[in-house]
């Protein structure tokens, strides 16, 4: 297992390198001049000022040198450069935003699993009854709903119409847990509903696969109560693929946070990326994309490793 983990970690390196090259080249190819943005238009006309700035920023060196300098700074010092709009260190800015996103994502995933696993199980056990039809229809609808529309409808209904929940703003759970949760409910549900729909489908099909297996017949023929057959044996086995795919969706969730955080003014890394794109703060865009992509890759690896731990039947290469 340790060897396999190391092997997979080494495999990540080319992927992350490719991502970094991609991000770097894309931003490099953008039109517009950093120096124009940094120095005022009039100052930038002066060739001496330009040359000095170019030298200071390392822009006089060839592209590949600049790439390695950029990457080296990130890997060795964690230095992502400075934000164009605020002038502050990007690394500090971005890492400050991570907890809010993680908080939101974990609650959203938990919420979706709490809804999806019972729904999927019931649908599979009561296959081809009205329960099944309702659940499958609900899940295909959930998959088709755009998250941002669902978020808007939630705000419309729960905060504007009923006035139960606040429509935006983030409150830290360490200051006031109750208030924090109140502020969390809408964004977490809006983020989790799609995942819940996907997981319901998965649970249902995994359960259907399991229920047809021979050990289920054996258990039933031994006279075990149906409840026990379902919950103790079938569901346990069905959960392995379900949790895995739900875990892989976790990465996609990180992407979904961009939209949700923008709607709810949730100060996470998704909102940082969105703000950076809107204000054309490209070093910030680079950094947030790089961090989100790395998180995505690492989460996927973690899920894969957990899956292997849970399921010893999988051969280690």
């Amino acid at each position: 297992m340790i060897r396999y983990t190391l092997y997979r970690l080494v495999q990540l390196i080319p992927v992350l390198l490719m991502v970094s090259v991609f991000v770097f080249v894309m931003i490099y190819a953008l039109p517009g001049d950093v120096i124009d943005a940094l120095a005022g238009e009039s100052e930038a006309q002066d060739p001496l000022v330009r040359a000095a700035l170019e030298k200071e920023l390392g822009l006089d060196k060839p592209v590949y040198v600049r790439y390695f300098v950029w990457l080296g700074k990130i890997v060795i010092y964690g230095d992502f450069g400075k934000s164009i709009t605020t002038g502050r260190s990007i690394g500090v800015e971005v890492f400050k935003r991570i907890p809010a996103t993680v908080y939101l994502a974990i609650v959203a995933v938990t919420l979706s699993l709490i809804i999806a696993i019972p729904m999927g199980t019931i649908a599979a056990v009561r296959r081809r009854t009205w329960v099944d039809y309702v659940v499958t229809t609900a899940s295909v609808t959930g998959i088709s709903f755009p998250q941002f529309w669902f978020a808007i409808l939630c705000v419309l209904f729960f905060s504007l119409f009923l006035g139960w929940l606040p429509a935006s703003e983030y409150k830290s759970p360490f200051d006031d847990l109750g208030l924090s949760i109140k502020h969390l409910i809408l964004p977490a549900s809006a983020l989790g509903v799609r995942l819940a729909a996907i997981t319901t489908r998965l649970t249902r099909s995994a359960m259907l696969d399991e229920i047809r297996k021979e050990y289920v017949d054996t258990a039933r023929s031994l006279g075990l109560p149906e409840r026990r057959v379902i919950f103790k044996y079938t569901l346990r086995n069905a959960l392995i693929p379900t949790i895995t795919v739900a875990g892989l969706q976790f990465g996609n969730l990180l992407g979904g946070t961009v939209v949700i955080e923008a709607i709810f003014a949730w100060p996470g890394i998704g909102l940082t990326l969105y703000d950076a794109i809107v204000s054309r703060d490209y070093p910030m865009v680079q950094a947030s994309v790089l961090i989100l992509a790395t998180a995505f890759v690492l989460v996927n690896l973690l899920v894969d490793l957990t899956y292997r731990l849970l399921n010893p039947r999988i051969r280690l290469p």
């Binding site: 080319p14 088709s144 808007i152 890759v297």
Partner: protein
């Protein structure tokens, strides 16, 4: 044992299907389509999905006829009107008719989604087919690239592409082209992997060996003989992908990173509606319904196609 299984008829052996194999490809295709149509009819949800997709395409085609107003013309005398006979879905804060914008938006979105998926297939299918057929080092290299490509979260790619397109301040046409290229490029790796998987299974079959013996060229074998047998999963995937692309395009325009205003776009209209949520909630309803309708249609239709074309995973 092996002999017995050849001479005796296995239970439930389908003579009609067996006969089909001997018919000419054209008739086979026709019969196949007829079969497909019947199955489609039988699967009710799938037919609802098919109907929804057909209606969506009809709306997209006949947008100029269906629209009652100019979708981009501002009319400050008719700002923020509630739905009425003159304006079926009401008007937005610029006095633009939401119904007309929804209809024209359908045309734009359908065109983008279809072209993007086509581009994804155009790039992904040959890549996957060649990789799977020739195998070896070429396959290893190509699949590593595909893996890395897939490891990059899609939404980040779209956001990067959108900000890239925005930075160039392109005209609407080139903006749209850029979007299609980005969506298509992101679609390629998953298509390639899908096709590669089927081709790997297919190339071991006897008919391929027979073609080698006859001396057909590799390219002929891959593209004319193997590939047609690998297309069902691609068709399923493409249908569902259409819905997914719609979600992505509207998400981007919702964030204000899509086409420049006043282009009719469901996502952009929803974003605009957020300003008037308290007084004019219906503004947020119709564009959202339109997106959900279109995506649901493609998803239901895709699920139905899967049940039909891929019996192994039917009833899931």
């Amino acid at each position: 044992m092996a002999r017995a299984s050849i001479t005796s008829t296995p239970e439930g052996f389908d003579f009609e299907t067996a006969d089909l194999a001997r018919l000419s490809p054209k008739i086979r295709l026709w019969r196949g389509l007829k079969e497909a149509a019947w199955e489609l009819w039988r699967n009710r949800l799938a037919s609802i999905g098919a109907a929804m997709v057909i209606i969506l395409f009809l709306v997209a085609i006949f947008a100029p006829v269906l629209a009652t107003h100019n979708p981009v013309k501002q009319n400050y005398r008719e700002m923020l009107q509630t739905p009425s006979e003159a304006h079926y879905f009401g008007t937005d804060k610029f006095g633009r008719d939401i119904w007309s914008r929804t209809v024209w938006g359908a045309r734009r979105l359908v065109i983008i989604a279809v072209l993007a998926v086509c581009l994804g297939m155009l790039g992904g299918i040959p890549l996957g087919a060649i990789s799977g057929y020739f195998g070896g080092k070429l396959d290893a290299v190509l699949m590593r690239v595909v893996d890395a490509w897939l490891a990059f979260p899609g939404i980040l790619f779209y956001l990067l592409a959108a900000s890239f397109i925005r930075a160039y301040e392109l005209s609407l046409f080139w903006n749209t082209v850029g979007l299609i290229v980005a969506l298509g490029a992101a679609r390629m790796p998953s298509m390639a992997r899908l096709v590669r998987g089927s081709v790997l299974a297919e190339r071991e079959k006897e008919y391929v060996e027979a073609s080698h013996v006859i001396g057909e060229s590799h390219l002929y074998i891959v593209f004319r003989q193997i590939l047609p047998n690998c297309l069902s999963p691609v068709i399923i995937q493409a249908t569902i992908a259409l819905g997914f692309e719609l979600l992505i395009i509207t998400s981007l325009s919702f964030l204000g990173l899509g086409a420049p205003p006043p282009t009719p776009d469901w996502g952009a209209d929803l974003n605009l509606a957020r300003e008037h949520m308290v007084t004019r909630p219906y503004l947020a309803i119709f564009p959202g319904l339109a997106i959900s309708y279109a995506v649901l249609g493609f998803n239901l239709f895709g699920d139905g196609l899967r049940d039909m074309l891929d019996p192994r995973i039917a009833d899931r």
